[in-house]
């Protein structure tokens, strides 16, 4: 092969992959810009205030270009925050316990049984979680607490906790595994039992990684749409009890966008919700980066 062709290929190949890299950056920018533009229409075109959107209790946007409705999305925002927080409260202890088990208690069982099981958990589609939640969990909750309907914040949180369990477990396990064994030896050498080593040295040493895992789990719970939509009850009321049906941002977008007129106030308000979700997920990334950077500085 002549040198000429060789280097022409190099040039083409390099150009091609560079284009692809650029395309990804442009795609990300495009998504951000679309969301910013459409999401800000609620405030720019329809003249609502940011505080009305974030804290307003009345959700009655008009489904037309004239506008004039109310876009208080507080009930959706609260629903999203409460369901994901409760999901975290349920999932984190179990996840961290499993992560400890597969790394320090029985790596053998961990490798052969638990890790594959966690991977399968992660692969189950979210609508299937939602469906099982709807046909199994919701009737249980209804019966257990004698409720008119079982769809509730509790149901949504439990479904979400099972969904984020594999994420938090596997990332925490990686973090625990990367703790330098010299710390553990030091503690054993002072006469600590395995459990004492785990809670007083191992977990503090892995806390950044575990925190990263928790934020990723939170991010996944916050952005999950259909599984939550199936079991939360989609009640447009401010959540007052764990057992009450409620609503959340993702479910509202999923169920109302189809019927909303393009360019109308409802449509714009739903886009603002999407923008809010986008900003939240961006903040989660920033948080993870900050934790990582602090970890580097300390190491």
């Amino acid at each position: 092969m002549s040198r000429n062709i060789k280097w022409r290929r190099e040039f083409t190949g390099r150009g091609l992959v560079s284009l692809c890299g650029m395309a990804i950056v442009i795609l990300t920018l495009a998504i951000s810009v679309f969301l910013l533009v459409r999401g800000s229409e609620t405030f720019v075109t329809f003249g609502h205030s940011l505080s009305e959107f974030l804290f307003g209790m009345t959700w009655k946007p008009a489904d037309d270009m004239a506008g004039g409705g109310k876009v208080g999305a507080a009930l959706f925002i609260a629903g999203s925050i409460i369901t994901s927080m409760v999901a975290l409260l349920i999932a984190v202890p179990f996840s961290v316990a499993t992560a400890i088990f597969i790394t320090k208690i029985s790596p053998e069982l961990g490798r052969k049984v638990i890790r594959p099981a966690v991977e399968i958990f992660a692969g189950i589609p979210s609508v299937v979680y939602g469906w099982v939640g709807l046909v199994v969990l919701v009737p249980w909750i209804q019966e257990l607490f004698h409720l008119p309907q079982g769809q509730s914040i509790l149901a949504a949180s439990v479904v979400l906790s099972v969904m984020i369990y594999p994420t938090i477990t596997s990332i925490s396990a990686d973090a625990i595994e990367s703790v330098n064994p010299k710390f553990l030896e030091g503690a054993y050498g002072l006469g600590a039992t395995r459990w004492q080593v785990i809670y007083s040295v191992l977990i503090p040493a892995a806390k950044r990684g575990i925190l990263t895992a928790i934020i990723l789990g939170l991010s996944r719970a916050f952005g999950e749409a259909l599984a939550v939509a199936m079991v939360i009850g989609k009640m447009k009321a401010f959540p007052t009890s764990l057992l009450a049906p409620a609503h959340c941002l993702t479910a509202a977008i999923a169920s109302d966008m189809g019927g909303a007129m393009d360019g109308g106030e409802l449509n714009a308000a739903l886009w603002s919700m999407a923008l809010f979700l986008f900003i939240m997920s961006f903040l989660f990334i920033v948080a993870i980066r900050l934790i990582g950077r602090k970890g580097q500085a300390n190491a």
Binding site: K6, R9, E10, G13, V17, S18, C20, G21, I24, V25, L27, T28, L29, A30, I31, F34, A97, T98, F101, L109, G110, I114, A117, V118, I120, F121, G123, I124, P125, S126, V127, V128, G130, V132, L134, V162, T193, R194, W195, Q196, Y199, G223, E224, A225, L226, A229, M230, T250, I253, A254, M257, G258, D262, W271, A274, L277, F278, S281, F282, I285
Partner: protein, 312 residues
């Protein structure tokens, strides 16, 4: 009685302190055993939960079986099954080349520092996007602005946005993990960087890349929120029409195409047809089978391919 108790005290005192276990050790041993038991119980219960869920789903799927449930008609989920596979294949056709190329660019060509940081940030942003937001973007960009209706191709593009970060990251990590000698050895033989990438580096990364692609495919099968307003929730296929331009031709990517996961969602939330419950049960079971099949395949295929390449 007094003599025995004083005798016991005396013998306690005679014992070597090294053979004694004090209260703090007894307490520590007890908590250790308790915690170990709890960790076993928690990890075990999740395995049981998984088994219970999988068997529940499979059992209901089999119970929902009727002559028509797997048929390629309105009562069956055959068309949805086909749409699911077709959509994932199209999305992989887009995301695999783009994802691998970006991974290669990031690892081999991009200047470390600002360029890779920018790309990294972009990828992290993409991968953390809620899928319903990706669906909205897809709806606007691929459906509204193009001026068309809901269609499979838009759905495939939306799914691609979700799988590109995964494929790129696995490619990048695999390339970064290669020993430096691979590059130096090839470059020393007067190969260009591009030849090194194509003939040496990428073949050495086949296994992790395949695993990444399979993982992306598995997610694609299960994706629903991103497809709500892109691929649409209806399907109208005529298996006798093979004119690609026809809106009822199965292979026409520019027709609406409901996937299995959307069928689960639709039948439980809208419940328009009489056998909605059965459709959801059967579709869930088929989805689970697809996902399991792909996760097993990815391990097997990855191992087989890397064995073949290393063997040659």
């Amino acid at each position: 009685m007094t003599t025995t108790s004083t005798g016991a005290v005396a013998s306690e005192q005679n014992k070597n302190p090294l053979t004694q276990v004090d209260a703090s050790i007894r307490h520590a041993r007890f908590s250790d055993r308790l915690a170990t038991g709890a960790l076993y119980a928690i990890s075990g219960s999740f395995v049981l939960l998984l088994i219970a869920m999988l068997s529940y789903i499979m059992y209901n799927g089999i119970e929902a079986y009727s002559g028509t449930i797997f048929s390629f008609t309105d009562e069956g989920i055959g068309n949805q099954f086909f749409n699911t596979i077709y959509l994932v294949v199209i999305s992989l056709l887009v995301s695999v080349p783009l994802g691998i190329a970006t991974g290669v660019y990031m690892s081999e060509y991009a200047a470390p520092g600002r360029t890779t940081d920018l790309l990294q940030m972009a990828l992290e942003t993409l991968s953390s996007l809620p899928s319903v937001v990706v669906g909205l973007f897809g709806y606007l960009a691929f459906v509204v602005y193009v001026g068309t209706q809901w269609n499979l191709f838009s759905g495939a593009l939306a799914v691609s946005i979700l799988s590109i970060p995964l494929i790129t990251t696995t490619t990048y990590n695999a390339l970064q993990a290669l020993p430096k000698g691979y590059r130096e050895g090839s470059l020393a033989l007067a190969a260009t960087p591009w030849e090194t990438i194509v003939h040496v580096l990428l073949p050495a990364c086949v296994q992790p890349i395949i695993t990444g692609i399979m993982l992306a495919a598995g997610r694609g099968f299960g994706e629903a929120a991103a497809l709500l307003y892109t691929a649409g929730m209806s399907t109208d296929i005529n298996w006798n029409v093979w004119n690609l331009a026809s809106p009822v031709c199965p292979l026409n990517p520019f027709r609406p195409g409901e996937t299995l996961s959307l069928a689960v969602w639709a039948s439980r939330t809208e419940g328009t047809t009489a056998n909605a419950g059965d459709v959801a049960a059967a579709a869930s079971a088929v989805l689970i089978c697809l996902v399991l099949f792909f996760s097993i395949m990815s391990r097997w295929l990855g191992r087989a391919i890397s064995r073949k390449i290393e063997g040659e």
